[in-house]
Subunit: 761 residues, 2 copies
């Protein structure tokens, strides 16, 4: 009894403790001195530091490079909030472990082979009228040309489409102004066929291309059957951008290695890097995608490997494909917010080149070309369409835009600087050093029709000496730069601990409305009710010849069922529904030796399936620390040998309980209920309904108290029959629910006190 | 010529730009107002913010939970520096993709089955004389009882050992005072045999245990043959701790579910959580590990599944195993820095209980027991050994220590608070709220004989409303607390973006000496020279019946070979050595459709192996953005059908170059060399040898310039023969190396200017 009384005391004093106000032990000056901080550092700290419970203004979605994932971080705090499993299985999320997500990854098989990673490069956020709508994110895999669709409702990957033509695709994902299409361009040229084609036939048989994947916004899925590809020469296509406003029916894709060099260093020939950058210019490829879609609808596409392909000769004949020389080995091709200009970054030039869309259209309309390439595609002369060229420095790579009229930012890889410049007047405004060797850069909404500017992130490819050393493999360094003032100011260095991001998009946080739970019994990957949804109390095990199928559940702190029996060789299928409704009450499910690890967020139903190929004992348990009795959230799969005959009679395990123990537990429970009532009393005395998180907690606590009632009824029933064993255990379970209710109630009470709730009449 | 001249200009003006000093656009007060920061927030910001290039005082090594990884972050900046692949394949690191690391993961197979995740729980740092020595890290997998060894020389996983007895092991890893042993205890009881044993035989046939894995510090590897296990009853063993100082020959392991309840909610019985927490007390299990090791040496162990096992009856007879009741369902068992006391956290009690080691020894010596458990193990009475009990609050879970005498910190799960208390005098000193539901907590060196105190990290299991929402699956929240003053102060909320950490250890950064490169041609997983090391210029392809074996290399910006030919059905084996010596110059290697993704840090040799089962064209490329010409770092695997006969004569691909183009390139190169010379002139005019990063850069740039010389020689030779094709291409390659040298030189120059170099005479 003494132990239990102490609980009550603690519940009583918790209020005072939660209100304690810590005194600062140091002055700001002392801290600055001790840590060697300048005033500028403190200002940067104040511009980025986000106190507990604070919110970031933007969420950045970054490719994870060869980790195959997408990472999400807040700006300006630069705290990484989530790694989303996309192309690579990830067990914390159960991604690639539960059958539902395995089905997504299976869509990404290449030539029938499972691919367990991706080289994720360029995320694109879905747009409406050229602005982010916060609904979907797309990301490409360069190594195995694929595009993944992530739903920003729950931050999960829902679909992967595999390009049936390419063998490499760096230039994705980019979206048209209303996300009609997701653009993916090829990179290293290869035959469209799956067959062997010798390099000697490179010019004739190897091809590039730009694919326009049709996106169905209602369904949130790409429709491969309504998608198409425009065939291109075997240049290495690189990044793309869709037009905006006046240019919105066009897309722009740059290229390198228009030399069509095929390598051969092992034969003493110069390496690819020399062969692929020998010419002073490569080609910008302009495609009228809107007309292209009409051509497909008109039956002018050829079906190759199941993809609608507009052949080059058709594209040329129909006037939807043009080339413009651009400074050599370009990376970014970026359309200005008003859609009037296209900025080209030639990595091996010192300039950015600004093309005028109006001049481009004038040349197209006048059919004024300087010639054709080897494939008959008309070439528009650079000087006919240049708005301006601006000398920025060594290695211009990618450009983003500001809210301020005509202001752009360009990354300079070799110079390790960011340049701010005016693309209307063609002049440099400011420069800032970064550390080191920036690839892409990104401003807030910087590739939309309405950039916010404000912050810029420099995605540096080398960190070298910026952080504490962690071995030969270094993190990347994302540097946050304040671009709101007259001079750019470095605010923060963020190491990327996993993967090599290539590009990031930042969406204003208030555009995102993520869910905190699913409808009960939900298959999150198909976004439909699961066929295996299980309600509380309806859990069951179906045993048929060679198969054991479990329809189970999880809720604080038990897995139902706790014992599963199977016979060696059986297929075991376990469906689990998380019955929780409370925010953040995810349960996990891991099992010894069967490679089983599930993540079951509130409401979700997931499935694991395996062959119980060896007789034995296989403990399972919850892998998310969900409650004080989490460690006790366990069970056993018992796999019997074939033809097993029990050799022992029903034995006994564990302790035996008496009436005294039952009585003691019941007394404790009554006392605990008194404490809970006092917490409930406090909450209901306040205007708690003005605080949504508290309303949710009250709902959760009420659930737990209802469970407590059910356990109490079972304890009472057992006691009435003189079954002290079950009486004591169910009384204990009743108390467990009380403890969970107290836990939730205390958090709610603290929340009210910290957020200044007021008494209600 | 014009384009090239601009490079020179830019090289010239770079200095001025790098020195630009940004003006603050806002005052601190304005920023505070705009962002709603209090003075306390600004102080916390100043205590955690780490400017570019700054170093953290501590590196924290955190378990990644069911992600199966370990993450590393800096304190106080709370920036995550690395996720280390441990139990789960991770492609960014090539972990589980190259053959060398696959061999490590294969050590962790369970019953012959590949396990592609782990439930990583408790990291332990290697110790010498009870203090961290910064050499190794150990981590357990709860789901598939395994221990991994990570070398802190390069932050890579080197070994995984699988426990042959357990089916679950939560209580690891913990080390003895000189890392003689790595301790791993069982969790959910199961038979030692791999056979089916019905739950009815739970009391007799199911077992727990504590395993002592022998660690060889010289070799950096666990020696399973020199390891042993002490058999324990089928209680759920939980955390352990090794003794220190006077108690250093002992280890302490707590337990829950000493009720030996076996579940049955699906049969209407109370769930595990009630059955496993019905009793008021569970047992602390004390083992004299030093004597146990002597018993093993004396042949008193039984070999079970290849493991030396000291049976309970032997342990009891030899006087090395004792039980002490402890408040129910405990988690942490933590030995004080001086080794004189053991702190027990009973999750369902409101107290921490402090046991006196002196009193424990007195009881052992006097053979003063209050009885025996069902397995004959002597039970020491709690009241005989208690130093004190302190009421802290709801759900005490884990305790860590301060540098200050007798000061400890305990996490309170249900209360969502941290208590600071005095374990000598038994009184509470301070409390602070955390958000929410803390599991473990951690102070700097807090489990060593010399804790630093200073900071505390609260590993909160629920984040709920702390961060911008990112869907139903929430990040964990690690809160940094300043414990240097009279009152604890919350400094920072760090979201954990991947996995659910359970425990963290923080090592003073200056104890770590990570490498930045390997010896050239190194197998990092065996820590020996690779048999497949390849030197520059010695690359080769060996073709034998059914096999193509490549001995290749990578260096900015080419992969050698650039073309690999194979025949359908061949086994393709590719060994790649990264010839770089420069810090952070990692190259990657990905190939279309073959699930190939390697990470090759400077000096490393790695291997990929696959069957080229389908004829076709398979591009490959470097996946780490290593240089301006990174995208051109590519190649092709060409897989011919069996019996393929060439049908075309040697064709032509790409462009043809003239003498004019050769001459133009050479002129550019001469001009570029002038610019490089001016950068070199600046560097060598300064005391650059006082700056190690610059010395390394100079070495790297010199490498590149030597490569440039070689390319120049080839260009000259081709030109001498009138071969303008190769002349122009090699001249371009010569320029490529110049650009890399300029890139490195510019970084070095900027470094000198930023770090106040001085002219030398």
């Amino acid at each position: 009894m003494k132990l239990k009384r102490r609980w009550a005391l603690t519940l009583g004093i918790a209020t005072a403790l939660l209100n304690h106000s810590a005194m600062a032990n140091n002055t700001l000056e002392e801290v600055m001195q001790a840590r060697g901080l300048t005033q500028k550092d403190v200002l940067a700290a104040a511009k980025t530091y986000t106190p507990t419970g604070g919110r970031d203004e933007y969420l950045a979605f970054s490719s994870g490079g060869q980790s195959g994932q997408v990472l999400v971080y807040g700006i300006p705090s630069m705290r990484i909030l989530k790694y989303i499993g996309v192309f690579t299985p990830e067990p914390w999320q159960g991604y690639g472990f539960d059958e539902e997500s395995k089905a997504v990854l299976a869509q990404g098989r290449v030539n029938g082979k499972d691919i367990n990673y991706g080289d994720a490069h360029h995320p694109a956020a879905s747009e409406t009228a050229g602005d982010y709508d916060g609904k979907y994110l797309f990301i490409n895999d360069k190594a195995n040309p694929r595009i993944a669709v992530i739903d920003l409702h729950d931050f999960e990957t829902k679909q992967i489409v595999t390009n049936p033509l390419y063998k490499s695709a760096h230039g994705g994902a980019f979206v048209t102004e209303n996300t009609e299409y997701v653009i993916e361009s090829a990179q290293y040229a290869a035959p469209y066929s799956k067959d062997y084609v010798p390099l000697e036939e490179f010019n004739d048989q190897y091809r590039g291309g730009v694919t326009y994947w049709k996106f169905n916004k209602e369904k949130g899925r790409i429709e491969p059957e309504n998608s198409f590809t425009v065939e291109l020469p075997p240049y290495s296509q690189d990044l793309s951008d869709a037009g905006k406003g006046p240019s919105s029916e066009w897309s722009f894709t740059n290229s390198f290695c228009t030399e069509r060099y095929v390598g051969g260093i092992e034969r003493g020939r110069p390496p690819f890097e020399a062969g692929c950058s020998a010419k002073d210019t490569d080609f910008l490829q302009m495609i009228h995608w809107k007309k292209a879609a009409e051509l497909v609808a008109a039956g002018k596409a050829k079906n190759i490997n199941g993809m609608n392909v507009i052949l080059m000769e058709t594209a040329v004949a129909e006037g939807i494909l043009f080339l413009v020389p651009e400074p050599k080995s370009p990376h970014g091709v970026d359309v200005t917010p008003d859609g009037s200009k296209i900025v080209i970054n030639g990595k091996l030039d010192t300039h950015v080149s600004v093309y005028s869309f109006e001049k481009l259209m004038a040349a197209v309309d006048a059919k004024k070309f300087e010639g054709k390439d080897a494939y008959g595609i008309p070439i528009i002369a650079m000087q006919d369409v240049l708005h301006t060229q601006v000398e920025l420095g060594l290695g211009p790579l990618h450009t983003q835009f500001d809210a301020k009229q005509c202001v752009a930012y360009t990354s300079l890889y070799v110079d390790s600087t960011i340049a701010r410049w005016n693309y209307c007047e063609g002049k440099v405004l400011d420069k800032i050093s970064i550390h080191y060797n920036v690839g892409h850069l990104m401003t807030m909404g910087g590739d939309t029709v309405n950039p916010d500017g404000k912050y810029l992130v420099s995605l540096n490819k080398l960190a070298i000496d910026r952080f504490n050393p962690v071995g030969p493999l270094h993190p990347q360094n994302h540097q946050l730069i304040d671009i709101s003032g007259d001079k750019m100011e470095l605010l923060y260095d963020m190491p990327v601990p996993l993967g090599e991001p290539h590009y990031v998009v930042a969406i204003k946080a208030d555009k995102l409305k993520p869910a905190i739970r699913y409808q009960s019994g939900w298959n999150s990957r198909t976004n439909q009710p699961s066929a295996f949804k299980t309600r509380a109390g309806r859990e069951k095990i179906e045993v048929t010849e060679g198969k054991v199928e479990v329809f189970g559940s999880t809720i604080r702190s038990h897995i139902t069922p706790e014992i599963i029996e199977a016979t060696e060789g059986d297929e075991v299928i376990i469906h689990l529904t998380n019955l929780e409704r409370a925010q953040d009450e995810t349960h996990g499910f891991a099992m010894y030796g069967q490679n089983v690890q599930l993540s079951i967020e509130p409401g979700k139903t997931v499935t694991t399936r395996f062959i119980a190929d060896k007789a034995g004992v296989y403990p399972y348990y919850c892998t998310e620390f969900c409650s004080a009795l989490h460690l006790e959230m366990q069970g056993y799969l018992l796999v019997k040998p074939k033809g097993y005959q029990a050799t022992v009679s029903e034995g006994k395990a564990g302790a035996v309980y008496t009436k005294a123990e039952y009585d003691k537990q019941v007394a404790t429970n009554i006392e605990t209920q008194g404490v809970i009532d006092s917490v409930v009393g406090f909450i209901t005395s306040q205007n708690y309904q003005d605080f949504p998180p508290v309303v949710a907690s009250v709902e959760d606590a009420t659930d737990q108290l209802n469970f407590a009632k059910e356990a109490k009824a079972k304890a009472d029933a057992a006691a009435a029959k003189g079954d002290w064993q079950n009486g004591a255990l169910w009384a204990n379970q009743w108390w467990q629910y009380q403890v969970k209710a107290a836990d939730i109630g205390l958090r709610a009470k603290a929340y009210l006190q910290e957020h200044g709730s007021k008494p209600v009449k």
